[in-house]
């Protein structure tokens, strides 16, 4: 099976011209799903690679940087094919233009995956043009010329011309009918370690984030959200708030209040001085009510079936043994370190939006709708983002800034106090997951049924992943329970929970069968490789590859004295990750010493950034499962700040050892895939250490001292 993208028709994707200021300008279309057929000779470029007469190479890029390293990755891909030092490729954030730039969204670990081929193609084509221009000037064959460090050289005569010197003449040549991309074995840049381009500014405090925005005439705005889920705004008494020195105005719109002031502190003080009445929803939501509703739904039937292979009920009925377990998953806030903020400057017939958005196009659309101003009159700028994790895919805070600026008649930078985001953020949905497995008289796993309930419309499940394909009768069901609590994507949506649950229950089954955890998985994967049951959309051989590699790295089965191993693997965002956690449990307290991480994500672009994403994803995944909880009590989020909402700390973070498997596959996602299996590997290691199977999240609520 090959997942390589289809070959490109170059003429359909590249357009060459001379830049207005001189030099070569190569326009191209970002390749993303569904757009290949739309390409034609008359296509409109939506991205540009330019080489100026000064030699400056510039790429206009559209994905916001949230810490996933694309500001380094894109220049590296271009630099590799163009034979330019990556540091010399300047990357400029493209202003939002949904007609011109596709995929201006930071989500789904897809920035590199959707851009790799076309960036290489653009770099190689520009290089070919520059070589042709030099060869023409010298009257030699292009094939006798070489390129390195932004320079074309004719080795037989020793003549050289820089890319800058050639940029004008190259821009007047016809695009080559075909160019050869470098063989991956010849890469000198891709797969090496490169430091993030913004790091020098980050370590001096010079780097600006959305929250640091300051403009002439700007007011600082504190936002008040309903304190209980589902409440509506009643009456606002702002008498005391307006008396706070520095408070300029208090404005409100349905279910929100903003205090606008000359500084953030005054805005926060004003917020505390407000007297607001809120109207309760019919029922005050609670985690207890939801747990009962989940359990009732699961007990009463199958809900919506998301995957069905064979006949699960029949197979369970005929089984020699049925193994059952129920797993309990809480809500989880995103808690990015940079609090929610957004700048808007609304004028009579135009508006400017500036801030940390993961979906700027949606932000502009909602602004247009609120203001009745056409989208083309609304300009949007994206700032560096101080952590997203899915929270900034939502546009509630864009609405806040637009409303506040509109009502105040002034540019406003709104900021939510930490507590506001904890109280009324968009949480990872809570859920209940009931698993059953059927074992036949010969000790074979014949049936697997997951019946789940959550508050998202089609359930928080990953129905097509392993062990799907290995079991003849396989079914995944979901129930949708309505709630006032708003939920959203949380880093590696659904996968962040399902990897843990699937890989935990799989081990429960393996344990009941007396199978060794790694051997059991490999046995099931061999079944998928040789004769899969139903359609399988992951590659079992690659999943096996990362399991075997992680096991080898960890010396699986031989943990250091006093420690235990746990293993897990998971496929997400087209990448495969296998992990072994090395854990000890003392007096009921978990210590995660080390995590070995084997990754098959195709071609690695920037090794440093790739390793960083794995290290961070593992820490995040383990921390969230270990400590993360957001109970809803009497309609309120019970944890309001980091004193009760526990994030993993340095002393609890494991050492991570990462290995990337050598592969010819194109690059696939890496911002998320290392996260899901990490908590599963730890939970499985905890079981190995204690014999206690964790079925309730977070880990810390389980008694492991027995």
């Amino acid at each position: 099976m090959s997942l390589h993208p289809p070959p490109l028709n170059r003429r359909a994707f590249l357009k060459l011209s001379t830049a207005a200021s001189g030099g070569l300008l190569l326009g191209f279309r970002w390749l993303s799903a569904g757009t290949t057929s739309a390409a034609s000779v008359n296509f409109k470029p939506n991205a540009f690679l330019s080489i100026a007469p000064s030699g400056q190479v510039t790429l206009l890029s559209q994905n916001p940087e949230v810490g996933q390293g694309i500001k380094t990755a894109f220049p590296m891909i271009i630099g590799e094919e163009l034979d330019v030092a990556w540091q010399d490729v300047k990357i400029e954030p493209a202003p939002l233009d949904t007609n011109q730039y596709e995929r201006q969204v930071t989500a789904g670990s897809g920035a590199v995956r959707s851009s790799y081929s076309i960036l290489r193609e653009a770099g190689a084509s520009a290089r070919a043009l520059l070589v042709s221009a030099a060869a023409k000037e010298w009257g030699v064959k292009p094939a006798t010329c070489t390129t390195a460090n932004s320079t074309v050289t004719h080795p037989p005569t020793g003549r050289t011309l820089s890319y800058g010197q050639l940029a004008n003449s190259a821009s007047k040549l016809p695009l080559p009918a075909s160019v050869e991309l470098k063989d991956s074995s010849k890469f000198t840049l891709l797969g090496t370690r490169v430091g993030g381009t913004d790091v020098p500014k980050i370590v001096t405090g010079e780097q600006r984030y959305g929250i640091d925005t300051k403009k002439p005439g700007m007011l600082y705005g504190a936002i008040v959200n309903p304190p209980l889920h589902g409440q509506k705004l009643g009456n606002v008494d702002d008498t005391a708030a307006l008396k706070v020195a520095g408070v300029v105005k208090v404005v409100s719109w349905p279910d929100k209040v903003a205090v606008l002031a000359t500084n953030t502190y005054a805005a926060f003080k004003g917020q505390e001085a407000l007297k607001i009445t809120w109207q309760d929803p019919k029922v005050r939501e609670s985690s207890d009510r939801l747990s009962q509703a989940f359990a009732d739904a699961i007990a009463n039937g199958t809900g919506e079936t998301r995957r069905k292979v064979g006949d699960v009920e029949r197979a369970l009925g005929q089984a020699d043994r049925v193994i059952e377990a129920t797993y309990d998953v809480p809500f989880l806030p995103h808690a990015p370190m940079e609090p929610i903020n957004m700048y808007a400057d609304v004028k009579a017939d135009s508006a400017h939006l500036l801030g940390p958005m993961q979906t700027p196009a949606n932000g502009r659309r909602i602004a247009s709708r609120i203001l009745g101003i056409p989208e083309e009159n609304i300009t949007v700028e994206i700032t560096r983002i101080g952590g997203g994790f899915g929270r900034r895919l939502k546009i509630d805070f864009v609405q806040d800034a637009v409303q506040a600026s509109r009502l105040a008649g002034a540019p406003v930078n709104i900021v939510w106090k930490r507590e506001e985001d904890m109280i009324s953020g968009n949480f990872r949905p809570a859920g209940l997951y009931h698993y059953r497995a059927g074992i036949d008289a010969q000790g074979r796993l014949t049936a697997w049924h997951l019946n789940s309930a959550s508050i998202t419309s089609r359930g928080a499940v990953v129905p097509n992943n392993f062990p799907n394909g290995a079991i003849p009768h396989f079914q995944v069901d979901t129930h949708h329970i309505r709630s006032e609590v708003s939920t959203g994507a949380w880093r590696s949506p659904n996968h962040n929970v399902c990897a843990l649950l699937d890989e935990s229950f799989l081990e429960e089954v393996g344990h009941a069968l007396g199978k060794e955890p790694l051997a059991f998985r490999l046995e099931l994967l061999r079944q998928v490789e040789s004769a899969p049951f139903g359609k399988v959309d992951y590659e079992p051989t690659r999943l096996r590859g990362v399991l075997e590699a992680a096991a080898e790295m960890a010396d699986w089965g031989n943990p250091p004295a006093g420690r235990s191993h746990g293993i897990a693997a998971h496929y997400s965002h087209h990448s495969y990750v296998g992990q072994v956690a090395e854990v000890s449990v003392t007096d009921g307290n978990i210590t995660v010493h080390k995590v070995y991480c084997a990754v098959d994500c195709g071609q690695v672009i920037n090794l440093s950034s790739a390793e960083n994403q794995c290290e961070g994803g593992i820490v995040d995944g383990i921390g969230a499962a270990w400590f993360g909880d957001m109970p809803i009590v009497e309609g309120a989020s019970a944890n309001t700040n980091f004193h009760t909402y526990r994030l993993i700390r340095m002393s609890e973070a494991p050492e991570v050892v990462t290995r990337f498997l050598q592969t010819d596959s194109p690059p696939t996602g890496l911002g998320e895939p290392a996260l899901p299996p990490a908590s599963a590997a730890v939970a499985n290691a905890v079981f190995a250490a204690t014999g206690v199977r964790i079925r309730k999240l977070p880990f810390i609520q389980n008694d492991l001292s027995a």
Partner: protein, 155 residues
């Protein structure tokens, strides 16, 4: 409102502010020193860490009235040219992801190395545990502090 004379990064500054205003907001909103970040506002995450007379404090909890005529160092003043051993190590190890918490991490680490130039891994963990990194760059922070300590020793 009252007037306060401050010494920030070696420079004398005067601000007019509510005496209860935390130093964090004085730095960010009144003096445009935005390298010091807001995150929790209750001294739980370390993101707003600055030095007061060389010792780390949480500027989100520290009223401006307590900072008069004392020496304050922010991330902008950690070094003249971004070449404090920790800043160099942070770059070499390529620590940040989103980067938002890193000024606070650096200020806490700088105070640690000042009082303990060769901390053990356990001492690093114990000292840094008040600083949250939501991206999970802890391993790299640990490595960078060790690298800076080692390079400091070689000088």
């Amino acid at each position: 409102m009252a007037q306060f004379s401050l010494n920030i990064n070696g420079k004398a500054r005067t601000v007019e502010a509510d005496p209860t205003m935390p130093l964090l907001w004085v730095l960010r909103d009144l003096l445009d020193l935005t390298g010091t970040k807001y995150s929790c506002g209750m001294g739980q995450c370390g993101t707003c860490t600055v030095h007061l007379n060389g010792a780390p404090i949480r500027s989100c909890m520290f009223p401006i009235s307590g900072a008069s005529n004392q020496s304050i160092t922010t991330i902008e003043g950690l070094s003249e040219n971004g070449d404090h051993p920790l800043q160099l190590a942070w770059k070499e190890v390529d620590v940040p992801q989103c980067g938002y918490c890193q000024p606070g991490q650096l200020m806490t680490a700088a105070a640690l190395l000042k009082s303990n130039p060769h901390p053990s891994p356990e001492e690093i963990d114990a000292n840094m545990t008040g600083n949250i990194c939501r991206c999970g760059t802890y391993q790299r922070i640990r490595t960078a502090i060790q690298l800076a300590a080692k390079q400091g020793a070689e000088k």
